[in-house]
């Protein structure tokens, strides 16, 4: 359909996609294109249709109107929101990774190493902690070298440090493997670091663009409030490693990069480290 799509590295394209559930529109006239080596994050409040959008991209939901184009032969790696394996099914981590794609033991080990879960290969998946499961699911989606990773709320049930590490990994996959990434998130802060493009969704696409631009967009502000915007700005600074002298970026400073010097700030200014909500912190 789109001419020269392959040349431009286009992986998936939605044109005017509309999905209705029982007459109520869940998605209206959505346009979205996903490219290789690009991380697109879809944010929006609960019920905004984020997961439905992911399902359309994955081919799990057929749109009522509009068109979905996928590059022929597109390999998708999908990390669902939750994966609960019945205890009746004995399933070690290594076997979970080869459920949908064949892979040698060496490839399985190397993918697990890549997400820092190499030691888990023989563990039963039912015994994993939330953070371990998240890494293992990410590794599973990577097996076989997908062209497009679709991650639905990948940082659920993971603590802040774990979240930052997870987003760092995603950024690295994009860089090193050149795969496209579609991420669904309601996490407005940490996720921005790893994102090239943000799509703000509320049944329709409210706005989209670079994280900084979306953070200033009136529709975004209307949806999430100015507090979210200011924390986004803080985060953008933090990621640029332009820390304020008084070290008050701390509550957002969990992106997993080399920020060890912040902790020294913490010792110098212990009074700054009240457990304030991110939205209340001023840059």
């Amino acid at each position: 359909m789109p001419e020269g799509a392959a040349r431009r590295g286009e992986l998936v394209r939605l044109d005017g996609v509309t999905v209705r559930f029982g007459g109520r529109p869940a998605l209206s006239a959505i346009n979205l294109d996903l490219h290789a080596a690009e991380v697109v994050t879809v944010i929006g409040p609960n019920g905004a249709g984020k997961s439905t959008l992911a399902r359309v991209v994955l081919g799990l939901e057929a749109p009522e109107a509009g068109r979905v184009w996928r590059r022929p032969g597109l390999r998708i790696g999908y990390m669902p929101q939750r994966l609960v394996v019945d205890p009746v099914l004995p399933l070690p981590v290594g076997r979970l990774l080869t459920l949908t794609r064949r892979a040698s033991a060496r490839e399985v080990a190397s993918v697990l190493d890549e997400v820092g879960a190499g030691h888990l290969v023989g563990r039963a998946v039912q015994t994993l902690s939330g953070g371990e499961m998240q890494r293992v699911m990410l590794a599973r989606a990577l097996v076989g070298g997908p062209d497009l990773l679709v991650l639905d709320e990948p940082a659920q049930n993971v603590d802040v440090v774990g979240q930052a590490e997870l987003y760092d990994l995603v950024a690295r996959f994009r860089r090193e493997r050149g795969c496209g990434v579609l991420m669904i998130s309601h996490d407005l802060h940490v996720v921005m670091a790893a994102t090239d493009r943000v799509v703000c969704l509320h049944g329709h696409v409210c706005c989209s663009g670079a994280p900084e631009d979306v953070g200033r967009h009136p529709e975004y502000l209307a949806l999430f409030g100015p507090a979210a915007a200011s924390s986004l700005a803080v985060y953008a600074h933090a990621h640029g490693h332009r820390h304020t002298a008084d070290g008050r970026v701390e509550p957002l400073d969990a992106c997993g990069h080399d920020h060890s010097h912040d902790h020294s700030h913490a010792h110098e200014h212990p009074h700054d480290h009240s457990r304030a909500a991110p939205g209340t912190v001023q840059p």
Binding site: R55, P80, V85, V88, P90, L99, T100, V150
Partner: protein, 270 residues
Amino acid sequence: MIPPLDDFLVRALLGGLGIALVAGPLGCFVAWRRMAYFGDTLAHASLLGVALGFLLSVDPLVGILGTCAVVAVSVVLLQEQRRVATDTLLGLMSHSALALGLVVLGLLPGVRVDLSGLLFGDILSVSPSDLAWIWGGGAAVLAGLAWLWRPLLALTVHEEMARAEGIPTLRVRLVFTLLLAGVVAIAMKVVGILLITAMLILPAAAARPFSTTPERMALLAALAGAAAVGLGLWGSLALDTPAGPSVVVSALVLFLAGQAASLAGGRRGT
């Protein structure tokens, strides 16, 4: 060496083993996918199959196979519609098929059916042609399962994940239910309508504590089923008890022994 097929006990053993080797691995999926009630539904439908076999004067096995296949496909396709809850749907199919089967049998003039044989099986009357059905059909079902193994396991773990990554989930589920229908059809002669689900579920459950991978569980379930057949036939001879139920009781004993052993092992481990 050619086994003495004229010996009814040898035929019973061979028939039982043939069923056990197929029912074990397939039963693992029944357990993993929580489809025990589905197995029951197919078993009940097979009575209607017998009746239809008489009505159309075809081999009862053909009647069973056909009816089970129709019921299996209908259930999967009706599930897709999501208009009726699955267990409601299965209950409806299961008991309607059973009742319909009994009504059709009653309507047939001059046909006297050994209902007890249908309900509980008659493993001691397994004929050489039954054996051919069991081993031929069993081999076909096992080959089908081996072919289906990877995609079926993937969609058992997470159906949407499997579908998103390119597995044709509806087709895989349809083929699996047809394999299940095949097993029910060939197992009915041996253990009967009421006990088929037990041969699917019990060996799998017995194998679970000793399994670390799905493949190992399938293998152990086949072996547990085979052991139950041997033990049951021996017990039936020694104690003069009905053979089919004795096999199922043996499987239950194996399951309980396995649970006890794994509990004891777990306690020793801590």
